[in-house]
């Protein structure tokens, strides 16, 4: 098992390097001059030259690449063009809000999605299943930022139950600010995870060991939650990884809707303000998050499935 984890960890290193390389290529080689992007189309030639000099854009590409890799691997992301703040500092101060939102939404999504999926599977082709199907179709079609905006209008603007913007100070206030954004992302997770649970559980319930569990005298609840669901978790954990990442990407829009600080808002604001160092760092951080989450999910898989452990 330790060897398996080590292999996975080692495997993540080239993936991360590849991701960084792709980010570099996207930022420097794709059409679109970073200097023009940062300064705007009407920029003075002197300003552009100055910008290129400052960010080493006149160096040969391989040297730029080496500098880029060195900076990223030492977490040296430079300073904001707008405020002059260290980008690393900005990232750290925003990270907590995004992590808090993502974790809350994923947890809510799991707590809602798995029981709903179980309910749909156990009532296959009956009313609760049909109801769930409509819900999950809607969950796929409604964009998260729209759902968030509607919740904001109804519960914050009209009813005044929740704050309209910000992330709050102190635990209780932060939780209060977290409710609507987390719920927005969670509702769509519920639909997605519920559908996955339903499919996986229906498949598992038809297998022989479920019959064995019943033959032992296990009651239905035990059969479903101890035997079937645990096996259904194997395909579910793959979906969960995807779900965490789509929650993370959804948080970008939701942070904007609820005017909440966070990595997504930082990145999007930087893009519109053409704050090049922040954009570059933000892209790297999100890309790194993908690698890290996938790695974590592989480790979760090891815990759930003993068959991987021994290999």
């Amino acid at each position: 098992m330790t060897r398996y984890i080590l292999t996975r960890l080692l495997d993540a290193v080239p993936t991360m390097l590849l991701v960084l390389t792709l980010v570099f290529l996207a930022m420097r080689v794709l059409p679109g001059d970073p200097a023009l992007a940062a300064l705007g189309d009407g920029a003075q030639p002197e300003a552009i030259a100055q910008f290129r000099e400052r960010f080493g854009l006149n160096d040969p590409l391989w040297l730029q690449y080496l500098h880029f890799m060195r900076d990223m691997l030492t977490f040296d992301f430079g300073a904001s063009l707008m405020s002059g703040e260290r980008v690393a500092q900005l990232l750290v101060s925003n990270l907590g809000y995004t992590v808090e939102l993502t974790i809350a939404a994923v947890l809510l999504g799991i707590m809602g999605g798995i029981p709903l999926g179980v309910m749909a599977a156990l009532n296959r082709n009956r009313a609760p299943d049909a109801g769930f199907r409509v819900f999950s179709l809607l969950g796929y079609a409604i964009p998260d930022f729209y759902l968030g905006a509607v919740l904001l209008i109804v519960f914050s603007l009209s009813l005044g139950w929740f704050p309209i913007s910000g992330a709050g100070d102190g635990f209780a206030d932060r939780m209060h600010h977290l409710v609507l954004p987390a719920l927005t992302l969670a509702l769509l997770k519920v639909a997605f995870l519920g559908r996955l649970t339903r499919t996986a559980l229906l498949e598992v319930l038809g297998r022989d060991f479920v019959r064995t569990a019943r033959a032992k005298g296990a009651r239905e609840n035990r059969v479903i939650y101890r035997h079937a669901l645990r096996n259904a978790l194997l395909p579910l954990s793959t979906g969960l990884g995807l779900s965490i990442l789509s929650t993370l990407s959804g948080s970008v829009a939701v942070e904007l809707v609820f005017n909440r600080p966070g990595l997504g808002k930082l990145l999007i604001t930087a893009i519109t303000e053409r704050d090049y160092p922040i954009v570059q760092a933000g892209v790297v951080v999100f890309a790194a998050a993908v690698v890290v989450v996938n790695l974590l999910m592989e480790l979760v898989y090891v815990i759930i499935d003993p068959r991987i452990r021994v290999q």
């Binding site: 993936t15 590849l18 991701v19 792709l22 980010v23 996207a26 930022m27 794709l30 059409p31 679109g32 992007a37 179709l137 809607l138 796929y140 079609a141 409604i142 964009p143 998260d144 930022f145 729209y146 759902l147 905006a149 509607v150 904001l152 209008i153 603007l157 995807l242 990442l245 789509s246 993370l248 990407s249 959804g250 970008v252 829009a253 904007l256 809707v257 990145l267 999007i268 893009i271 519109t272 954009v279 933000g282 892209v283 999100f286 890309a287 993908v290 690698v291 996938n294």
Partner: protein, 290 residues
């Protein structure tokens, strides 16, 4: 050569039967098709059916509530919301149509190349595809948009890049399967050139899953374009798109909720309709792909 001429290709009757299967006995699919058709007509006829110029500002009718003058009211610049929604449908549908097609072409090219030739090409392509597939489409799109910036062709490029890995994976897997078929071996043995084999025999035979994905993902593309426009990195104002109507509506929500409500509803309805059609196409064409 005669040998390869005799190889059956997907024929027209099959497509017609397929269309029948997609619709058969499913009122939801018929309603969805009608919905998409209505939106398509609206998008095409926008200049003739929009009551006003979607960009025309009016200082005497700022944030007007729905009335007989402005059926859905106006925004903070006094622009007619209904007209903006009608013109906005053009953006949504064109992106929903264009980007899956481009992504399908790019993805099929990559996937077939990797699958047919194998070797190091396959290893490199597969590795990159696998890595990109780890990214949710939205995240990939945001990251590429961060590098490219907004504007029509950039958005097309962003969406295309976001969907290409998925097409490439399916195309590669299907190519590997088709390559095992005896008629490919027969074609190779009878000296048919590689490009002919690929375009006459491989590509037509992997078209089914690609078509399914194109339908399913045009819904995703519409939602994705809306999200990017909402984030301010898609369609740039003042040009209307459903996403940026909601974006501007959010800044103005204290005055009127209508832009948010109607813009979001339009996205939801179209995405719902297209994904219903996509599911039906999938069920009829290939029950195996999910």
């Amino acid at each position: 050569m005669a040998n390869s001429e005799a190889i059956p290709l997907p024929e027209a009757p099959r497509l017609r039967r397929l269309a029948g299967e997609v619709v058969a006995g499913r009122p939801a699919v018929i309603i969805s098709l009608a919905t998409v058709l209505v939106f398509a007509v609206i998008a095409i006829l926008a200049p003739w059916i929009a009551p006003r110029d979607p960009m025309a500002q009016s200082f005497i009718a700022i944030n007007a509530m729905p009335s007989s003058d402005y059926l859905l009211g106006t925004d903070q610049f006094g622009r007619d919301l209904l007209s903006r929604l009608i013109y906005g449908s053009r953006n949504s549908l064109i992106f929903g149509l264009l980007s899956p097609v481009f992504a399908a072409i790019a993805g099929t090219f990559l996937g077939v190349t990797a699958g047919y030739f194998g070797g190091w090409i396959d290893r490199v392509v597969t590795r990159i595809i696998d890595m990109l597939l780890a990214f949710p489409e939205l995240l990939l799109a945001i990251l590429v948009a961060a590098a490219l910036g907004g504007g029509f062709w950039n958005v097309v490029a962003v969406l295309t890049i976001a969907f290409t890995p998925g097409f490439a994976r399916v195309a590669r897997a299907s190519t590997l399967a088709v390559k095992q078929e005896p008629y490919i071996e027969a074609a190779i043995a009878s000296g048919v050139s590689t490009p002919v084999i690929i375009f006459r025999h491989v590509v037509p035979n992997i078209s089914a899953p690609i078509v399914v994905l194109m339908t399913l993902w045009s819904a995703s593309a519409i939602r994705l374009e809306a999200t990017l426009s909402f984030l301010g990195i898609g369609t740039q104002p003042p040009a209307p798109s459903w996403g940026n109507i909601i974006r501007e509506g959010l800044g103005n929500m204290f005055a009127t909720p209508w832009p948010i409500l109607t813009g979001g509803l339009a996205i939801t309805i179209v995405v719902l309709a297209i994904s219903t059609i996509g599911d039906a196409v999938r069920d009829a064409l290939d029950p195996e792909i999910k």
